[in-house]
């Protein structure tokens, strides 16, 4: 095995990096591939709670780097998805405890025994971001169809190029089709045109994401969720599969279909 390192980043906070990391990781692991998720947000760890593994943490990323535990000891195995592992961030330290070369060394150690290594980057463009991007083979930039998130994504895409890790691939998260239809939300096409990068996923805003986060079960495990489907599609595209982008319109029952029939238009 030679694992690929995928870094999930965004610039702006709160656009869904951790949710994306957890779900793409779970989707890959559910198809039998060995996945290690690393939470690189030292001091503000959250990947553990989104994956529902917070009660099983003994050692963390900084312990591995400092050599106070073995790599295996800090890897928490998900009981629902036996191929999914988490290396949690340290909560009581800061980003300076880890350097970009530490991350490169750690990933080199993980590569031979895994298919995918997913790194959840902290927000911002400082040390934490550089740590997360240093070992990356593929960089996913997450954004929302919203001015400040798109602006920050543009900055990050530029930095990823400057670090020679580009071209980044774009995930547009939290799309609200009804607002797009009204002309009150940037369309996927608008965002791609502005950022001029390749799209790898578009994820609708979906209540099920919050429900599954509340429970600590990734939404990809919910067969009916549209967001879950979107994340599963991203994981297939990462594996090189050609997956058409799904329609984000919810069929909305008879009435929804009727209104669209009477008043087509919008996308």
């Amino acid at each position: 095995m030679t694992g690929k390192v995928v870094t999930v980043t965004s610039g702006k906070g709160g656009v869904g990096k951790t949710t994306a990391t957890a779900n793409i990781g779970a989707a890959l692991a559910s198809t039998g591939q060995k996945v290690v998720c690393i939470d690189a947000d030292i001091g503000l760890r959250n990947l553990d709670v989104v994956l529902g593994l917070e009660n099983r943490i003994v050692y963390d990323l900084v312990n591995i780097i400092e050599g106070s535990c073995r790599l295996r000891q800090a890897m928490i195995r998900d009981k629902r998805l036996p191929e999914l592992f988490l290396i949690p961030a340290a909560q009581t330290r800061d980003k300076s405890a880890v350097s970009p070369s530490d991350m490169v060394r750690l990933c080199d150690e993980l590569r031979p025994e895994s298919d995918w290594i997913l790194i959840d980057s902290p927000a911002g463009i400082e040390r934490g971001f550089r740590n997360a991007v240093a070992p990356a083979d593929i960089v996913l930039v997450i954004t929302n169809p919203e001015i400040s998130a798109v602006r920050d994504a543009d900055r990050i895409i530029g930095l990823v190029e400057a670090e020679e890790k580009g071209p980044a691939r774009l995930v547009i998260n939290r799309i609200r089709p009804e607002m797009v239809r009204r002309g009150d939300m940037l369309t996927v096409e608008d965002v791609i045109e502005l950022l001029a990068v390749e799209l790898i996923g578009m994820v609708p805003d979906d209540e099920n994401v919050l429900l599954s986060t509340n429970r600590g079960t990734p939404v990809v495990l919910d067969g009916k969720s549209k967001a879950g489907q979107a994340f599963r599609n991203i994981s297939r595209r990462l594996q090189g599969e050609q997956v058409p982008f799904m329609s984000l319109e919810d069929e909305g029952g008879f009435l929804g279909r009727l209104t669209r029939f009477i008043r087509p238009g919008g996308s």
Binding site: E146, I147, I157, G183, D184, V197
Partner: protein, 89 residues
């Protein structure tokens, strides 16, 4: 012209349209670290330099940033004044 069509179709009043137009400008300046003020200074310098060699109409000079994929371009449109031939002899 396209602005007129947009107005006609009510596109300019939609908030997504405004977001996109505002983002276009912001991204151009973010990517180049070139503020609108700096662009004006640059324009004045260009006009001065060029005027030393050829006759131009400073008011007609137009400078703008354009986006080409992820690359930015500085486009200067400098109309020349027709040469007034002096009669000799």
């Amino acid at each position: 012209m396209s602005g007129f069509i947009d107005r006609l179709l009510g596109r300019q009043t939609k908030s997504a349209y405004q977001a996109k137009e505002r983002l276009k400008l912001v991204l151009v300046h973010d990517r180049t670290d070139l503020s609108p003020g700096l662009l004006e200074t640059l324009k004045d310098d260009l006009i001065q330099t060029i005027s030393r060699h050829i006759d131009i109409d400073p008011a007609a000079v137009h400078i703008e940033m354009a986006q080409d994929g992820r690359e930015q371009r500085l486009i200067a449109d400098i109309p020349l004044r027709p040469v007034r031939r002096r009669r000799t002899g």
